[in-house]
């Protein structure tokens, strides 16, 4: 490598590093403040005496009225997010496979309806959907059902399946595999990278959902972590420490999930961007 290009690379890396510091600073700040002694939260940026007090508070020891409030909300977030991600993967697989690889009357209509929904401003549906789902208020089903199918996820599968050769599926059929066998044994393994992306993205979207969960599950026993933080936000203004800790609990799982899967979704990401 020539010297001048080495210097150029060095400068680029330096600029990147500075931008990265800015980009990740809010998250560092959040973690540091969540470990801060309570009398110093927000008043200092240097963590000299890290303490787990904020986390202990969340786990129940300092919170007498409803000791399991925060743990429960974390569980609620999981209970709502996992099925949403699973269902959107399954439906995406089925619709994506059938629309691209099967021949049946009306598949054009299904495809058009997908396009239409995808570009339709969802805000119109908010009020009537709420009225519709009201009987299921404060119930997991009411939180999960309206958001568990995503046209975006379906399109990810449609686009991926069109890149797979038809012969592959024809051959499987000749070998005597039924449609469901094909989905299980061929389509599912071949779409692993898309599945990783769809699962993670839908999980994240559901985990971070605010408005719908606030509407459908106002009962504190049903609130997700995201909602609980935002309802406690104002009253807990004098206890910033636990709020930071709760935010860490809200953010960290998603980041860890994405980082762990980053190997698998590299292929998927580069596909998604095509």
């Amino acid at each position: 490598m020539k010297r001048s290009s080495k210097i150029k690379t060095g400068i680029l890396i330096a600029i990147t590093a500075v931008l990265l510091v800015f980009s990740l600073f809010p998250l560092f700040y959040m973690v540091i403040q969540s470990l801060m002694p309570w009398d110093q939260v927000d008043k200092s940026m240097v963590l000299s005496h890290p303490t787990m007090k904020s986390y202990q508070y969340l786990l129940g020891s300092g919170n007498s009225s409803d000791a399991f409030m925060w743990v429960r909300s974390l569980l609620n977030s999981l209970i709502v997010s996992v099925p949403t991600a699973v269902v959107s993967v399954l439906v995406g697989l089925c619709v994506g496979y059938s629309v691209t690889k099967l021949h049946f009357r009306g598949k054009k209509i299904i495809y058009e309806s997908l396009l239409f929904q995808m570009f339709f401003p969802g805000v119109i549906l908010l009020v009537p959907r709420y009225i519709l789902i009201k009987p299921l208020a404060n119930h997991y089903l009411g939180m999960i059902l309206p958001l568990c199918i995503s046209t975006w996820a379906i399109f990810m599968y449609i686009n991926y399946f069109t890149t797979l050769p038809n012969e592959l599926f024809e051959a499987a059929k000749i070998d005597g595999l039924g449609e469901f066998g094909i989905i299980l044994k061929i389509a599912m393994p071949m779409t692993k990278s898309v599945t990783t992306i769809v699962f993670l993205s839908m999980f994240m979207a559901r985990w971070n959902e605010l408005m719908w969960d606030m509407l459908v599950a106002p009962d504190i026993k049903m609130q997700t972590l995201n909602v609980l933080i935002s309802t406690q936000f104002r009253t807990m203004g004098n206890f910033p420490g636990p709020m930071y800790a709760a935010s860490v609990l809200l953010t960290l799982p998603i980041i860890i999930m994405f980082l762990c899967a980053s190997k698998h979704f590299k292929e998927g990401i580069s596909f998604m961007l095509k």
């Binding site: 809010p26 939260v41 439906v91 619709v95 009357r105 119109i124 568990c148 995201n226 953010t251």
Partner: protein, 300 residues
Amino acid sequence: MAERTNSKKHYRDNFTGWLLNIPYLAYTAVFFLIPLVWAVWLSTMDWNLMSPDRTFVGIRNFTGMFANPKIIAAFFNSFRYLAPIVVLCFLFGLLLALLISNLPDRIKGVTAVLFFIPYLTSGVATSVVIRFFFSYNSAFNHFLRERFDKDISWFQNPTSAFWIIIAIIVWKMSGYYALFLLSAIESIEPEVNEAAAIDGCVGFRRLVYITLPMILPTITTVIVLASGLAFGIYTEPYLLTGGGPNNATTTWLLEIYNTSFTNFRSGEGAAMAIANAVQIFVTIQLFTFVMNKLNRKFGV
């Protein structure tokens, strides 16, 4: 073509095809078609979500919007949010993408993923951090007071409150859009750049004459995505400013939520949602139209 000769074969999967689509179709009927019709009907009603009596008011829910300063503010704020968000998201996204594409291959992937992390954070978590970071007693404000004798109440000032929300969103989204632009830049054939280099087209000139025209379709995608996003702002103003001060940061979603579910005027809320949807539709169409024109003129 072999299939064409056997027309029966064409629709051989009627049963499985529909079977696999049952969940999707059921969902579409229940959570899309019914609410859609309902929304139109609701927008002509005066109803508080609970009482058995509802009154038909025709288009009064729509005409009433013009007299409501909050709705007028939401309408104009959409554009006030849109412009800086689209421009800044695009510029920062492009900057990051260009930077990363010039890094050594070994650290490209890692860097892209690290810049992507802000995209994963919930608006609630960032709002917590931002609110406390800018609170009166925070180290940051303390520093400003001690050092520069500046006492700013960040969320009481319409300008600073507005730009804090913009900053949050640009911070969150830039790394995500950078991924799109990065993959477009990486897919430019090396021969193109080599040929350009022989003609003396390097550095900034290469960016303007080669890179940008080649990735124009992706730029279109990013701009349409970012403008769609700008119309969906809700969490940050809800938690940080409540739409204030003086409606400076309010958005359609915030007003629709408050009208429908805090003030229980669901008919009005439905009408507002339709007005908002029309605004979104027209704006996005306009953007797509302009970008297509640009594509035809400068694209490759």
